[in-house]
């Protein structure tokens, strides 16, 4: 069985679109297309990726303008029909602005742009985004953002936690969620969440920058591999590079 077809949306100012395309097309061997923001066809994609970058120059608020582009109208209705959508960094901000994920991403509490490898604890394994991970597993994936400070009201936060919608949290090398391990001040160290039905996921860290073995860390590949496997595509995974070089370490819990 062939795997899912991926559509990577390109907004003016997207800058991680080619990284995502490279990982999905060349490393995972999946059918992958770029989707221009002015287009209104998703070209029968099974999974939509909203990549990182600075769509529309981050004017007004990050992701606020991108949300109104023609392609986003299609992405929103695709998601509402149960389609699978992944937002990375700026893509996460766009998903929140579009109301596909709850909450908002504010200016980092340190006020600076943070570009660094961070540790993420997998809070929930077995979702279509984390099927290849173990619960409590620690992934090393880089962040690169100025507005990644996740905020939501108390009710929303309680709902997210109660439904198991928090997928990744910033942690230290032992898996503890300490304030020091939190690069941006996010509530409850939240780095990535999904919607209630488990079809839309947003995360600030960049798994596409930690997938090619050439770059030294392939922990991010687990997320793409999970996605592909969730479509029952074992064959496509054989095209994947050796994941034995992963730098993942187990939680000491």
């Amino acid at each position: 069985m062939t795997g899912p077809k991926f559509g990577v949306v390109v907004f003016p100012g997207s800058n991680c679109d080619h990284d995502a395309y490279h990982v999905l097309k060349h490393l995972c061997g999946q059918d992958t297309v770029f989707l221009w923001h002015k287009d209104s066809s998703l070209q029968s994609s099974d999974v939509i990726i909203l990549p990182g970058g600075f769509s529309y120059g981050d004017y007004l608020r990050c992701g606020a303008i991108a949300r109104f582009s023609p392609i986003m109208k299609e992405v929103v209705s695709f998601a509402r029909r149960g389609g699978v959508v992944v937002g990375i960094c700026n893509g996460f901000q766009i998903l929140c602005e579009a109301g596909l994920l709850p909450g908002a991403l504010m200016r980092n509490d340190c006020l600076t742009f943070v570009c660094a490898d961070v540790r993420l604890r997998v809070e929930r394994a077995g979702t279509r985004f984390t099927g290849d991970c173990r619960e409590g597993e620690i992934l090393t994936i880089p962040v690169a953002h100025g507005e990644g400070n996740y905020r939501a009201d108390e009710d929303t936060l309680r709902r997210l936690e109660g439904n198991g919608q928090v997928l990744f949290r910033y942690c230290d090398t032992s898996g503890n969620r300490s304030p020091e391990a939190n690069p941006n001040g996010s509530m409850s160290n939240i780095a990535g969440i999904m919607n209630e039905s488990g079809t839309v996921m947003g995360m600030m860290p960049h798994p596409e920058r930690a997938s090619d073995p050439l770059l030294g860390c392939t922990d991010g590949m687990k997320i793409f591999a999970s996605l592909i496997r969730s479509f029952g595509a074992e064959a496509a995974l054989s095209a994947m590079p050796d994941r034995g070089r992963s730098t993942a370490v187990s939680a000491q819990t």
Partner: protein, 86 residues
Amino acid sequence: MFRASINITLRSSILDPQGKAVHHALGNLGLHAVEEVRIGKLIELRINCRTEQEAKTIAEEACRKLLANPVMEDFTCTIAREAEGA
């Protein structure tokens, strides 16, 4: 013609890291009487419509749909008639 002045501020329940940093800097300048700093943005719209009420409705719709994010921001709209020929 009307001019809408829209003030967008972070909701009071939300920590404003920019405001905090500026507050700290003001303290370093010796302005210790300043107890709090909140930073927001000002957006001005020129609106071509007949009545002040209509202008307010349009400005508020703009705020709700795009200009402010209700998760973290509050807004106020002040409407003023523009002088003819301005």
